[in-house]
């Protein structure tokens, strides 16, 4: 039996993305190693979600490369080793169980194995009793847990999470975080955007801070939260609002946006 080659590390080099003539991701360069849990932080519009979509192959970059263990072609095999959970869960018009079975079918999992595997993962996110319910009538929190279960079921090597607990209450957030931790403990590499600094501290091993499409800081999570080097990252951690216009003085610390 041939050993399946890992798709990691992920190497991103000079990645840019443009929409309507505006550059929204600017020369992103970074490397993500297997087993890390990278929290992508930044204000709204910083380009966090775009960066995830570019890495996951949902968007085509204007410039730069995304390389999965040296493979820049984004082959079917590379895709099959990844999963993504979106901020707003997308549920197919079928039961909770069938939503997971569908993902497994696309992964080429044998029909006989699909139901058991889907049900097992549903139980792990606490939705076993809702297996036969139409997915779209579940509550928002349940749908997000189902989206986590769907991603979990395909046993991804890399899991992208785009603000998976945005708009969820603390209980549902806790449940999502438990799932993320469990998936990571099974060996998945996590790349996740969040606005919740507490969550980033709880889950992250590494942090990437973005502002206006540019990565301003990448660091070990404990170092970052102890004291980021970048002025804007410091302001972000203080909870200051990063919304001022170019050249206007920064209300909290006198930083000028033209430094960006």
């Amino acid at each position: 039996m041939t050993e399946i080659r890992s798709i990691l590390p992920l190497s991103v080099n000079g990645l840019c993305f443009e929409a309507r003539g505006k550059r929204l991701v600017k020369e992103a360069t970074f490397k993500i190693e297997a087993g890390s849990r990278t929290m992508v932080l930044g204000a709204n519009g910083a380009g966090k979600s775009l960066l995830l979509r570019l890495c996951h192959g949902l968007l085509d970059p204007a410039q730069g490369t995304v390389s999965w263990n040296g493979d820049v072609s984004f082959s079917k095999a590379v895709r099959a080793r990844q999963a993504m959970v979106f901020q707003r869960p997308v549920m197919l018009r079928r039961t909770a169980l069938a939503n997971i079975e569908y993902a497994l079918k696309l992964q080429g999992v044998e029909k006989a194995e699909r139901a058991d595997r889907a049900y097992s993962v549903l139980k792990r996110v606490g939705l076993g009793r809702l297996a036969d319910q139409p997915a779209r009538v579940l509550s928002f929190g349940e749908q997000q847990r189902l989206a986590m279960a769907r991603a979990w079921a395909i046993r991804p090597e890399v899991l992208f999470l785009d603000e998976p607990s945005a708009s969820l209450d603390p209980s549902a957030t806790h449940s999502i975080e438990e799932s993320i931790t469990a998936i990571a403990e099974e060996g998945a590499t996590i790349i996740m955007t969040t606005h919740d600094l507490g969550q980033a501290k709880r889950l992250g091993t590494d942090v990437m801070f973005l502002h206006r499409g540019r990565i301003l800081e990448q660091a070990n999570a404990s170092d970052f939260f102890a004291g980021p080097k970048n002025d804007l990252a410091q302001a972000f951690l203080r909870g200051d609002l990063l919304w001022w216009k170019r050249k206007a003085p920064y209300p909290g610390g006198g930083i000028e946006a033209q430094k960006i």
Binding site: A83, F86, R93, T95, Y102, A103
Partner: protein, 235 residues
């Protein structure tokens, strides 16, 4: 008024007594329209979905044309098909003129654009919701078409029923290419037109009642399917 009432009474008698002439016409009508709907669905459903998923030069023009073809005048379709199928026409050798097959072809031409255009709208809405998720799961375009058609099945049944409604109510094209030949190509709509011109209102009304019942049945089915879909899959 008396004439109207007696025509109704005679019509009900024809229906209740299962008049063979009446039911022969109804049976042929259903055969022609259902065949046309089946063929048009096999073409229109994937075509409408493909128009959403694939990008190619001239796509917008094709969409505009498809929408315009929804209002295709039946008599014009009938006339063109007549010219093609007539003995001196390019397809005359097939000997299809004045046969139920010619009527099916006419109806397919009329309802395929309806089914394809309405399918495109349904699938477009679903695709904007599903696109990223399906791409993330590694779903190929052909897999996406199958998924979107399946997940949109209840809305698409309404689309197909709309096509059936148009086919079963169509008179101009089938009259021209079918010839309204008794026991051969006479369907409900052409029979109603003929019987009215002959003054046999009972048969015309009997057929009209059945046609209306079919229309009502189609709408009721579409409504019930929609309600069922809401309950069953949260559509």
């Amino acid at each position: 008024m008396d004439e109207f009432a007696s025509a109704f009474q005679a019509a009900f008698q024809l229906i209740v007594s299962l008049d063979s002439n009446l039911f022969e016409i109804v049976s042929l009508s259903l055969q022609v329209s259902l065949s046309a709907v089946l063929i048009a669905s096999l073409i229109g459903l994937p075509l409408g979905a493909a128009l959403v998923l694939f990008t190619f030069p001239g796509k917008r023009g094709l969409v505009v044309m498809l929408n315009a073809l929804m209002g295709l005048p039946p008599v014009v379709v009938g006339l063109i098909l007549y010219l093609l199928l007539s003995r001196s026409g390019p397809l005359g050798v097939l000997g299809l003129l004045f046969t139920p097959t010619a009527m099916i072809i006419a109806q397919v031409i009329l309802i395929t654009p309806i089914i394809a255009a309405l399918t495109r709208q349904v699938v477009q809405e679903l695709w904007s919701e599903y696109r990223e998720q399906l791409m993330s799961l590694g779903c190929s375009p052909s897999c996406a078409i199958r998924t979107l058609l399946w997940d949109g099945r209840f809305s698409l049944i309404t689309t197909v029923l709309a096509g059936f409604g148009r086919a079963s109510a169509e008179v101009g094209a089938v009259m021209i290419v079918g010839g309204n030949i008794d026991h051969v190509t006479r369907v409900m709509t052409t029979a109603i037109a003929l019987e009215v011109s002959k003054g046999d209102l009972a048969l015309a009304l009997g057929l009209g009642i059945i046609l209306l019942s079919l229309s009502l049945g189609i709408n009721a089915t579409a409504f019930l399917l929609g309600e069922f879909a809401k309950k069953r899959i949260g559509a």
